[in-house]
């Protein structure tokens, strides 16, 4: 079998795409956690005069939970001018924030009411009790869910190939197009699957180890 397609240039070409996939996913997750936390706090705690904000946050979350990721990637690609990485990170942040918001809200709901009351009785204001008491506990409980969302973002980033972002799937499709027989095509696909699998499986193993440690503690 002719394995010359696995030459250094091609492998490097695919690995560059892999690197971009990781970069985009990491940035998207980072911004989504920030925006998602803000959204969750707004949806959870804006009462009275601020109720309008609560409704807006709920509407935002429902809208993005109920429509496909690919739609927003194409939508933002069509409406926003900028370089590919910026558009990719923006599209994923807009979409993933809504998912992260629901995860954070689930975490907030799992914190006992007495924690809020105790914080208040000790003279903590809303923001300082959130920052110092409630959110640290919330994040401890939602870390597994956040990391599994991480793998979802990494997987969904392959949709970006449809707007010509040079991530793993886009790069590997270019290399695979050069393959002339079925055997090397299969090997190349196997290589791509393996890259995605190694990254995501590594993350899920880390999450399982974390869960065991938390349960043991």
């Amino acid at each position: 079998m002719d394995l010359s397609i696995f030459n250094e240039a091609n492998v490097r070409f695919i690995l560059n795409g892999f690197l971009l996939t990781i970069e985009i996913s990491a940035m998207a997750i980072f911004f989504s956690v920030i925006c998602g936390t803000v959204l969750a706090l707004v949806k959870q705690y804006c009462r009275g005069k601020l109720s309008v904000l609560r409704w807006l946050a709920s509407a935002y979350i429902e809208l993005f939970r109920c429509t496909p990721n690919l739609l927003w990637i194409l939508f933002i690609y069509f409406t926003v001018r900028g370089d590919n990485v910026f558009i990719s990170v923006l599209a994923f942040t807009v979409f993933t924030s809504a998912v992260v918001a629901e995860i954070v809200r689930g975490g907030l709901n799992s914190i006992p009411k007495s924690q809020f009351e105790a914080a208040q009785s000790q003279g903590f204001g809303f923001f300082s009790s959130m920052r110092l008491i409630i959110l640290p506990q919330t994040f401890k409980t939602i870390i597994p869910a956040l990391f599994s969302q991480c793998t979802t973002v990494i997987k969904d980033s392959s949709y970006l190939a449809s707007i010509n972002v040079a991530e793993l799937m886009f790069q590997s499709r270019i290399v695979i197009a050069q393959s002339s027989n079925l055997a090397t095509t299969l090997l190349l696909y196997g290589f791509v699957f393996l890259l995605y699998f190694a990254l995501n499986f590594g993350i899920s193993l880390a999450v399982r180890a974390y869960q065991r440690r938390v349960v043991a503690a």
Binding site: E62, K155, S158, A161, S162, T185, L186, Y196
Partner: protein, 248 residues
């Protein structure tokens, strides 16, 4: 590009092309139904495999679940699209590559992908009911069928229904992967509408139509989650507790 959003003539053109959107909507619905059926059937089998004593069956289920949960759906579907015909040719010995219909690609793609998730849901559902429940039911004079009907399955469904509906919701969204292989679904048609007219309205229409399918599902998930937290009510069980409801 947002300036054309309030242009009435553009909306007229979009509403005039509703036929293509409805056709795409129909294809998406068909893929959803077929994909859901495949994922539920295969997922249940794999979920039961993972709770059996047989090491081989457990390993089969584990490997399947890990592969499908840790690799992207678009890559799986593109793989079937690009390499599938040649593989089928090699397997069946046909003269030329065997063409796979986009509809088949779509429902097999999302079906196989979500079967992995359904399998995990079924497994946790089965594991959530302790064995002692069956023994206790039998010792109280339930027949085996009654024990399943009144004791085991209600508890299992309580655990699995909310995440199952959530998977159905994700499955609907994931059918948009068909757009990558020119599948003629809602996403593909709205994208080609936007491509040929340059009107953003096409995406907004797709957004509305996806929302119409997914929002009721999201509400159903919320309702089921709330209901799962409630305490169970006393039921009248023929031959065991016929007057439980009257006493209450």
């Amino acid at each position: 590009m947002l300036d054309g959003l309030f242009d009435l003539s553009r909306w007229q053109v979009t509403l005039g092309s509703m036929d293509t959107f409805w056709q795409g909507f129909l294809v998406t619905l068909q893929v959803v139904v077929a994909g859901l059926a495949l994922s539920l059937a295969l997922g249940t089998v794999l979920g039961v495999f993972s709770t059996t004593r047989s090491r081989v069956l457990r390993a089969v289920s584990r490997v399947y679940v890990e592969f499908y949960q840790n690799t992207p759906l678009p890559v799986q579907v593109i793989f079937m699209y690009m390499a599938g015909p040649q593989i089928l040719q090699a397997v069946t010995g046909a003269a030329s590559p065997v063409r796979i219909a986009p509809f088949v690609l779509g429902f097999v793609g999302v079906g196989l992908y979500h079967a992995a998730y359904v399998s995990e849901v079924i497994r946790t559902g089965i594991e959530s009911v302790p064995r002692g429940q069956m023994e206790a039911a039998l010792s109280q004079g339930f027949t085996r069928v009654q024990a399943y009907r009144y004791i085991i399955l209600p508890q299992t469904f309580k655990v699995i229904l909310p995440p199952l509906c959530n998977q159905a919701l994700n499955l609907v969204k994931n059918t948009s992967v068909l757009a990558l292989v020119a599948g003629g679904d809602l996403m593909y048609r709205s994208n080609s509408f936007v491509g040929s007219y340059g009107y953003l309205q096409g995406y907004i229409m797709a957004c509305a139509l996806y929302f119409v399918i997914c929002f009721p599902l999201a509400m159903l998930v919320q309702y089921l989650e709330r209901r799962a937290k409630l305490r169970p009510r006393a039921k009248a069980i023929p031959g065991i507790a016929p007057d439980a409801a009257e006493e209450a």
